[in-house]
């Protein structure tokens, strides 16, 4: 089986719109959350969001294409351009058909849907933008990446709510591992901060009224965010041959379905996805040193995830470090795993584990080492990234450090 490595990455988020800024924020425990004014409707539909206010796609996406896409796809294409530039891979007529694009996105063009329906139902207009449909389709992002970067290989968008990015990364990993493609652009993105969508999230009663405090006794819920991450995957020998910088090797991917509740997470389902990733990687629990948790900051997720980690890792659960970087960049839903995989790869390459900030007093139900408050130096070899979605769909990716 071919080995698969990451040679380029890009990030768009509330705490940085490029890899360096994002990593600086994670290392220093900087939060991207802010109190909402009336910009998403009056009264504010949710009290706090983590939006990428200073995101400007101009350096990464051609001007003519920006106008053809909704915000989520612009963010995804921007991250993908960063990742390709970072990797320095030449796209040639020969290589292009061998480069896949498998990207994650939960909701598609929520922003243009919201704007368009408001025109019709509230403003009394009779027309909507002629490209509303192709802007709103979730696969606008993987199509946009292909058109912008010239990748002509297998291309599809995975939509599994908050597990979208991890499902996409896993599928891309398997595509390169199996030889379906020689390289793949993967990751995921989301941008759905619009009045109607925020009202819908508020109606679910899972949105925090305070900053996101994963695993804390005082946690009040998740904080909605936007952004995403993109990764160029290559076969190991090909990457070495061209002298590429390697951020890490993807070694395992696992997924599962709870087959239970529409929104409540399930210990067994989460555990089976983690176990499946370890099995795919032929890893023992003792080899894993860091988990980037799904860690949403809801009452249900954090306790369930903690139990699932204990179930899979046994005694190793008390030795490994776990953090939820959502405490800083918020929950970017379908883009969450895309953002968080950057945290995993940077932790592997830099020997620094990002913290869980705002964790003043842990919930007694949450009894692992969550790296509270401040980043920690630790040379680690293997890390895991968890994502658990509404609908009970779980996807877990495992990565290993590659010494250059």
């Amino acid at each position: 089986m071919r080995r698969v490595v990451v040679t380029g990455m890009g990030v768009v988020s509330s705490i940085g719109n490029d890899r360096e800024t994002f990593w600086d924020s994670l290392k220093s425990g900087r939060s991207g959350m802010r109190r909402v004014g009336t910009e998403y409707g009056d009264p504010a539909p949710v009290p706090i969001v983590a939006d990428a206010l200073d995101f400007d796609p101009a350096p990464w996406v051609s001007e003519s294409r920006i106008g053809l896409m909704d915000r989520f796809a612009v963010m995804g294409v921007a991250a993908a351009r960063q990742a390709l530039d970072d990797a320095g891979l030449a796209v040639t007529p020969e290589s292009a058909p061998r480069i896949a694009t498998i990207f994650g996105n939960g909701g598609g063009g929520y922003v243009i849907l919201d704007e368009s329906y408001r025109r019709l139902y509230q403003d009394g207009k009779t027309r909507v933008h002629p490209l509303m449909i192709p802007k709103a389709m979730p696969n606008a992002v993987s199509s946009g990446i292909a058109m912008e970067l010239g990748f002509k290989g297998p291309n599809y968008t995975v939509s599994t709510a908050c597990a979208s990015s991890n499902h996409a990364i896993g599928q891309a990993y398997w595509a390169v591992r199996s030889g379906v493609a020689d390289a793949a652009m993967t990751g995921g993105c989301e941008a759905l901060l619009a009045h109607g969508v925020l009202k819908a999230w508020a109606a679910m009663r899972v949105v925090g009224r305070d900053v996101c405090r994963p695993f804390a006794k005082s946690r009040t819920g998740m904080i909605l965010a936007e952004g995403g991450g993109a990764y160029l995957l290559e076969e190991l020998e090909a990457a070495k041959a061209r002298g590429a910088r390697i951020y890490g090797e993807i070694v395992g991917f696992g997924m599962s379905a709870d087959a239970k509740d529409l929104v409540a997470p399930d210990v067994d389902g989460c555990a089976r996805a983690m176990q499946s990733a370890l099995d795919d990687a032929a890893l023992s629990p003792e080899e894993v040193q860091y988990i980037n948790a799904h860690g949403t900051g809801t009452l249900a997720n954090d306790a369930t995830e903690t139990k699932a980690i204990r179930q899979v890792f046994g005694a190793q659960a008390d030795r490994l470090a776990v953090s939820s970087t959502k405490s800083m960049h918020g929950h970017a839903l379908g883009g969450a795993g895309g953002i968080e995989f950057a945290a995993v790869l940077m932790a592997l390459t830099q020997g620094i584990l990002p913290p869980t900030i705002s964790l003043d007093e842990p919930d007694p139900e949450c009894d692992l080492d969550y790296i509270p408050h401040a980043a920690r130096k630790a040379d680690i070899d293997v890390a895991v990234s968890n994502a658990f979605a509404f609908g009970g769909l779980n996807a877990v990716v495992a990565a290993r450090r590659v010494d250059s």
């Binding site: 679910m204 009663r205 509740d261």
Partner: protein, 88 residues
């Protein structure tokens, strides 16, 4: 404005409708947890009550402390209606 009796009857009716049970079985000291309502049913119940009285209840899935018994829900509806009437 509705009388306390009308509010209680309305709250019980919405809960009974959602859970397909008889409103007569419900009492103010009944706990939501005793009704074997799923988390989704609880959300639907709160929504139905909000729609009926045209209010927004201070309910969070992350903070169940405030609304555990049916009496607490009735009280929350009364308080919200009262405070809306005061600010109107």
């Amino acid at each position: 404005m509705s009388t306390p009796q009308e509010i209680e009857a309305g709250v019980f009716e919405e809960i009974a409708n959602e859970l397909k049970i008889e409103a007569a079985e419900l009492r103010v000291d009944t706990k939501i947890s005793e009704l074997e309502a799923s988390s989704l049913s609880v959300m639907e119940i709160i929504f139905a009550i909000e729609e009926r009285f045209n209010i927004e209840l201070p309910y969070s899935a992350n903070d169940l402390a405030g609304l555990q018994s049916l009496g607490q829900i009735v009280e929350a509806v009364e308080n919200t209606l009262q405070s809306n009437a005061n600010t109107a």
